[in-house]
C-alpha cells in the first residue's frame, strides 16, 4: 500500500498523522486532568479507585493507539522503531509508578528488581506497551503478586514479568518466534482476548535487532512460586 501519489488529494497517511496528533492531545489532556483529580482526592476517598481505573484505561488506549500505528506503519514498510539507549531501572520504575496505584487497590503487590544504572537499547514507547500488556495479563491470573525484573545475560537483555498464579498451560510453554502463529493459533493466549496483544508483543520483540540477532518472547512457569513468567529477550 502506498501512502503517496494518489491524485484525489486525500492521503491516508496524512489523515492518520493528523488524527493521531489530535488523539494524542486528547489523551494528554485526559490523563493530565485525571492526575489532577487524583491529587485533589483524599487518600481514603472511595471514588479514587474508579478514577485510577479510568486513568489506567486512558493509558491502555494510548498503548493500543501506538500498537495500531506501529502495525499500520509496518504494513506500509515504514520505519516504526526508535531504538535509543535507556536506563532499564528507570524505565521499570516509570512503569511501576504508573501501574502501582491501581494494582495495590486490588490487593496486588508490584515489585521491581533491576541493577541500578543498567542501560540497554530499545524503543521505549513500544516496549512500555509490551510490558504493560504483560502486566495486564499477569494481574488477571495472579493471586497477589506481580514482579518486574531485568538483567543482562549473554549479551542480551532479559526483561521478565512474572506472577504467582497457576502458571501457563503446557501448550504455551515455548519460545514465541513466529508472530503470525501466535495470532492465528488457537488457545495461544491466556486471557480471553483476541491475541492481538501477544501478536504485537512478539512482533515488537522481533523488530529489535542487533548485529543479525533479533529479539523474542519466552514463556516459563518459573515465576513467583511457580507462577507464569514471560520474558522479553532483546539483543
Amino acid at each position: 500500500m502506498s501512502s503517496k501519489g494518489s491524485d484525489s488529494g486525500l492521503d491516508f497517511s496524512t489523515i492518520i498523522a493528523s488524527s493521531v496528533h489530535d488523539m494524542k492531545n486528547s489523551i494528554q489532556l485526559l490523563l493530565g486532568t485525571l492526575d489532577e483529580v487524583i491529587d485533589e482526592l483524599p487518600a481514603d476517598e472511595k471514588s479514587r479507585a474508579r478514577v485510577l481505573r479510568a486513568e489506567a484505561e486512558g493509558r491502555r488506549i494510548n498503548d493500543q493507539l501506538i500498537q495500531l500505528l506501529t502495525l499500520y506503519k509496518m504494513g506500509n514498510t515504514q520505519h516504526c522503531l526508535q531504538i535509543d539507549e535507556h536506563c532499564v531501572d528507570e524505565f521499570l520504575e516509570e512503569i511501576n509508578s504508573e501501574n502501582h496505584p491501581l494494582l495495590s487497590l486490588r490487593g496486588i503487590e508490584l515489585t521491581v528488581r533491576c541493577e541500578e544504572g543498567l542501560v540497554w537499547f530499545f524503543d521505549r514507547e513500544l516496549l512500555k506497551g509490551v510490558v504493560n500488556n504483560l502486566i495486564t495479563n499477569a494481574q488477571q491470573h495472579t493471586r497477589n503478586r506481580v514482579a518486574l525484573s531485568a538483567a543482562v545475560h549473554e549479551k542480551k537483555l532479559r526483561l521478565s514479568v512474572s506472577d504467582n498464579g497457576p502458571g501457563f498451560p503446557h501448550s504455551m510453554l515455548k519460545r514465541g518466534d513466529a508472530a503470525d502463529e501466535v495470532l492465528l493459533g488457537e488457545g495461544s493466549t491466556r486471557s480471553d482476548g483476541t491475541g492481538l496483544g501477544l501478536y504485537f508483543s512478539t512482533t515488537i520483540a522481533q523488530l529489535h535487532q542487533n548485529r543479525n540477532a533479533c529479539g523474542y518472547l519466552e514463556n516459563s512457569n518459573e515465576g513467583v512460586d511457580g507462577g507464569a513468567c514471560c520474558t522479553i529477550v532483546l539483543p
Binding site: K24, N25, L29, L31, G32, E36, Q82, E98, E125, R211
Partner: protein, 540 residues
Amino acid sequence: MALWTLKNTKILVVDDFAEMRSMLRSMLRAYGAEDIKQASNGEDAIEKIENNKFDIILCDYNLGDGKDGQQVLEEARYRAILPLTTTFIMVTAENTSTMVMGAIDHQPDAYLSKPITKTTLQARLKKILDKKNYTKQVAIAFDKKEYSKASKRCDEMMADPSAPRQELQNLKFNLLTTTGDYEAAETLCNQVLDERDIPWAQLGLVKVYFSQQKYYEAKELLDGIIASNGDFVAAYDWLSKVHKKLGNTSAAEEALTQAVERSPKSLQRQRELSELAVINDNHTLAERACRDAMLIGKHSVLRTPEDYVNYSSSLVRNHKGKEALRIAENIKHAFKGDNGARLQAEICKSSVHQALGNDAKAEVAMNSALELYQKSGVLSSSRAGMALARNCLKYGREKEADTIIKDIAKNNHENKAVLEEISQIYEDAGFAGKAEEAITAAIDEIAEINNEGVRLINEGKILESIELFKEAARALPRNHIISLNAAHSYILLMKKNGANRQHVNEAMRYLDAVKDIDSARKRYNSLMKSCREVAQQAGL
C-alpha cells in the same frame, strides 16, 4: 538524596493549544518550577527566546500555521540566540526520532512523545538534564572552537562510568571530523559498531569515506544501511551526495526523492532535489521541489531570494510565464528592505520577460538591475550574475556584461561548469571568441596573485603574503585557490611563531569556505591536518 526540584529554573513552554500549555505548566509547578513563560506560536517563541535566557524549552513540534518546532530550533540556533546551556526538548505526537524526522543540522537535546504525565515528565526531564550536564562543557568548548580542550574534556567525561557514553562518543566524532582527523574518526566509528549497529556511527563511517573521497566504499556502506533500515532519511541524503560525486545524477535524484518522501519539510533537501531535477531535465519534479523549498522557506530564517528565483525559472521552463512573473514580483515583498533581493528580483523579472518575448519590459528590468548592481558592486551569486550578463548581451549592454562576466570568471577560475556556461553565454549572443579572452584574463590575474604570494612566502615575508591573500579573498570570496592560500599563509605563520586562537580561527574560516569543493579536497585535508597540529602544539 536531595529532593529534585525545578526551582530557579527558567522554562519556556511552546504549544499552540492553550490547555496543553496550562497543563504542562501545572505539571512543572508541581516540581517547584516558578519561572515559566509560554508561547503560542513559533514567532512568539523566537521573540521570547531572544529576550530571555531559558534553562529548559519544551516546544511542541506541531504549532499550527507558521513555523513548526523544528524551524523554531533552526532559527534560534542560526541566529545564535539559543545558548548551548539551554536544554531544548521537542514534544511530538508520534514516536519520532531524528532518523525519521530527518533533521539535518539542528537537533534538539531530546524528543518527548505525548502523553506526558507528571511522573514521566519528572523522570525524563531529570535524565535529559543529567545528560546535558555531562555534554554541556564539551559543547561549549566546541562552540568556541577550542577543539583540543573540548576533546580532552570529552575523554575525561568518558572515563566516568555513569556518563552517557553514546552522546560523548558522538560529540567526539563530530570534534574529530571538524578538525579533519578522519583516521581517528574512522577508528572511533568502528569501535562503536563492533558492539552495536548505532545509526550515527554507521553514517559517521560514510562521512569519513566521503571526506576521503572514497565514494565507492561510501556507496557500499550506504546500500547496506538502507537495506536493513529503509527509512533512514539521512542515509538517503548521503547516498544522493555520493551518487552525485560518482557522476550518476539520476541515481542521486532517486535517492533524494526517497529522502524527501519520508521527510519533506527540509528546505536544504528540497533545494538539492530541485538542483538535481534541473540537471536531469526533470522539469515537473524541479517545479515541485522549487515550489516546496519556497513554501517551506516562508517560515524559515534560512530562506533566500534564490528560492524564489529558482521557482520562477522552473515555471518558465514549464511554460507558466504568468505565474513565474508573479513569483518574481513577490521577491521584493518577501524580502523588504534587502537590496540584494531587489537586485535578484529585477534580474529574475528581466529573465522571465525575455523568455515571454516582452523585450521592452525585459530591458526596463535589466536596467534597474544594472543600476542596483553598479550601486552596490556586489552580485549575490554567480548564477544571478550570469542571468544578468545574458540579458545585457541581448540588449546591447556589452560593456556591462563583460565586467560582470570578468568578475564571475575570477571567482570561479577553476570551476569548469561555470566557465562552460560563460562560454555558452557569449556563444549564444554571437561573441564566440570573447569567453576565452575573459577566462584567460581571469586565470592570469589569479596566477599573478598566487605567484606573488609564493614569492613573498619564499622570501620569508609571511605577513605580507597574508595581507595579499586576504585582500584577494575579499575581492574574490568564491575563489578556492585564493582561500586555500590564505589559510596556508596563516598556518605557515603559526608554524613559525606558534599558534594563537585568532590565527587558528582565521585559517579555519578560509578552509571552511572550500570544504565541500571536490577539487580542493586534497589540499583542504592536508592543511586541516597542519592546522590541527600547530593548534595542538600550542594547547589550543
